[in-house]
Amino acid sequence: MSKQFQFKLVLLGESAVGKSSLVLRFVKDQFDDYRESTIGAAFLTQTVTLEDQTTVKFEIWDTAGQERYKSLAPMYYRNANCAVVVYDITQSASLDKAKTWIRELQRQADPNIVIALCGNKTDLSARRQVTQEEAQKYAEEEGLMWGETSAKSGEGVSEIFTAIAKKLPLTAPPPKTAARGAPGAAGGRGVDLNRQPAPGQNEPCNC
């Protein structure tokens, strides 16, 4: 019997680095040159199937990038199992912003959160400002996953989400699938069919 898991994923990163485009490519395999800016956050889901037939369903919160919306972010990363922090390889300032998000996640988010750093827009590599070496080195120092993608061409997109799926603790039920952090949130949502009585250390308090 194949195992099914569900995880909450949050996308963070500076405005216009391509967070929504990345998700749109991952979820619908589509790309638009111009998409309306995300206000607040958008919610999408996508399921990936691993080689051993394990399926991992991602509940994705795609957040707005503008600084003014920063205060909303904790609501979305609070109970996230994984985060994709996106920068634009043609904008070195966007990597600085990504580093700020990563520091915030390391301080505020679940200590077990899986963080992937993602350099988007490789189709524009002629205008590259962030080298692979620089980003990779930073990711290694911080213990993050790292990859480059092009939401436009699709390059690397499914790879990064699959890699995250593999990195997540698939041997035990995910710590908490509930996005909102309230008890019983997973109930009635048809997920985690293999959910077993959770070992104590994996079950957060039910406060």
């Binding site: 216009a16 800016s37 206000i39 607040g40 956050a41 919610f43 609501m75 909102r180 309230a182």
Partner: protein, 545 residues
């Protein structure tokens, strides 16, 4: 802002004491000193005394200002060809699958805009979804033109209109039109008897006449007597009448006049009207000139960067907004507003709020579909007037909701919280279901407040909604909007109560409002009005058990 008097609402008698806070007399109109920035005086720049200023182009290394540069890509639009017709038709049951039918009696020129992201044309068209006729229309005139290459048509009397928008009325009075392309009253039934159509038409004509009488009565009165002795109560009565009429929808052709009046941007008396418009447009011109006097390194980099990112993705896919020329106007409007309001600066979503103003003001000068229009064919002074008028009206609107955009966005947080409390009172089962599914109002209603529902309904719907908001008064965009949002949510109550968390969130972020007509908006506004009458000033009941 001083206390707002009760607005003229439907079913409420109009008292002569119902005035907007900035219209206490004719002289005040001219002074027009209610701007928040206090920088009006400094911008009385004598160096820009002409209406024909051309704003210094904002330095942009790679962009070309010519009309032929359409910086966009249509995702669903095919080039016009005989064979594209049926193909398009099949594609129309798509995400935004609909057909637009234009009804127009004074020109036999019609167009469809079936591939638009959103339908937002403000002409006299109605929507047809599938087989169901949603508006009072002439079915035989359905026509699909997937993509028009022409640039649109300018009215011959643009110069008169730009100097005095009320020229729009006098011109039409002369033409003695047989029918009015009024925005209101698209009826839900498809099969209507000719008598009923006739009756509705006559109601609309009547309403239009009342608008025109209201606007012209003032004009005539002022014209025949010195301003100083104009009876102030008469001015106020006119404004109250105007608000009452506008609450129920403004005819498309009168909207470019009525909106600036309701916003207090344009005074009603004709001598003041022209001079005020001229002065405010010059003032905006000088603001632009000063702001962009140096090259782009002189701009606030953070603000400019964000605006530069957002402008090309404002209403993507709509021709008007993909023109470099429109985009430069939008950039200037947003940037000048942002630096004059440092507490908020530019916040994403404000770009959306410019578009109804720009489209309404543009519609005054052209005879063709606003969203298909190529603004480069407009005389520069007209384009500058549209831009300036949009800027000042946007400023007036944002004055009422600045809390939404300052750090922490307290206005939005407050509104969302109150909305949650209100919904708990008016639809307890829905509130309980949302709570049981751990849906937080902030997860969907944040955008409803931040973009004033513009991401949920079409621009055309928005424009109709703003008729009522502007009639309500300055704080409608925060106060009345809260009730509209609550009514909007409750409208989907039954569906939502059958959904789980994922279903609810996904449904709320792509609501099936594509086929909404003015009628749907008017129903929503009526429901909001009932809520507002019941619950406003009853806050203590809000958060009760």
């Amino acid at each position: 802002m001083s206390a707002r008097p009760p607005p003229a609402r439907p079913h409420i008698g109009v008292h002569s004491s119902y005035f907007s806070s900035h219209s206490s007399g004719a002289a005040d109109w001219a002074e027009d000193d209610a701007w928040d920035s206090g920088s009006d005086s400094e911008s009385q720049n004598p160096s820009t005394s002409s209406n024909n200023w051309t704003p210094k182009p904002v330095p942009r290394p790679t962009l070309n200002n010519s009309s032929s540069t359409l910086a966009f890509s249509y995702t669903h639009v095919s080039a016009p060809s005989p064979s594209s017709y049926s193909h398009k038709e099949e594609n129309q049951i798509h995400k935004h699958g609909w057909t637009i039918v234009r009804k127009s009696s004074d020109q036999r020129e019609r167009r469809g805009s079936g591939s638009h992201e959103k339908e937002g044309e403000i002409g006299g068209e109605v929507d047809v979804e599938g087989e169901m006729v949603l508006g009072d229309m002439e079915p035989e005139i359905i026509e699909h033109i997937p993509f028009r290459q022409d640039q649109g048509t300018i009215r011959e009397d643009v110069d008169e209109i730009v100097n005095d928008p009320l020229h729009l009325i006098s011109r039409r009075l002369g033409k003695a039109k047989s029918e009015d392309p009024i925005s209101g009253r698209a009826s839900p039934e498809g099969n209507q008897s000719p008598e009923r159509l006739q009756r509705e038409r006559s109601i609309r004509t009547n309403r239009r006449h009342r608008f025109v009488n209201c606007l012209l009565q003032e004009d005539i009165n002022i014209g025949s007597s010195p301003i100083a002795v104009t009876p102030v109560p008469l001015l106020r009565l006119c404004e109250a009448q105007l608000r009452k009429l506008a609450w129920q929808g403004i005819p498309n052709d009168l909207r470019p006049i009525v909106w600036p009046l309701l916003l207090g941007y344009m005074p009603l008396p004709s001598p003041l009207r022209s001079s005020t418009l001229k002065r405010k447009r010059e003032e905006y011109a000088s603001l632009v000139e000063v702001t962009f006097a140096r090259d782009r390194r002189g701009l606030d980099q953070q603000i400019w960067h964000q605006i530069e990112i957002d402008v090309p993705r404002t209403r993507p896919g709509v021709r008007l907004w993909m023109h470099a020329c429109t985009q430069r106007s939008l950039e200037r409007i947003l940037y000048v507003w942002a630096i004059r309001h440092p507490a908020s600066g530019y916040v994403q979503g404000i770009n959306d709020l410019v578009t109804p103003f720009f489209q309404v003001f543009l519609s005054a000068y052209i005879e063709t579909d606003v969203e298909e229009f190529d603004p480069t064919i407009l005389p520069p002074n007209v384009l500058n007037a549209i831009e300036a008028d949009s800027f000042w009206c946007l400023s007036r609107l944002l004055d009422g909701i600045q809390d939404n955009y300052i750090a922490g966005q307290p206005g939005i947080h407050r509104s969302v919280k109150r909305m949650a409390e209100l919904v708990a009172r008016i639809d307890p089962p829905l509130a309980a279901h949302l709570a049981s599914q751990n849906v937080e109002f902030m997860q969907f209603a944040f955008r409803w407040m931040n973009c004033l529902l513009m991401r949920e309904i079409s621009v055309r719907n928005t424009i109709r909604m703003w008729d009522t908001y502007l009639a309500e008064g300055a704080d409608a965009f925060s106060q009345f909007h809260l009730y509209v949002c609550s009514a909007f949510l409750v409208k989907w109550s039954e569906k939502l109560r059958g959904m789980d968390f994922q279903g609810i969130i996904m449904f709320l972020q792509s609501l099936p409002t594509q086929g909404w007509t003015d009628h749907d908006i008017e129903m929503l506004l009526s429901e909001a009005f009932v809520l507002s009458s019941t619950w406003h000033n009853a806050q203590s009941h809000f958060s009760g058990n």
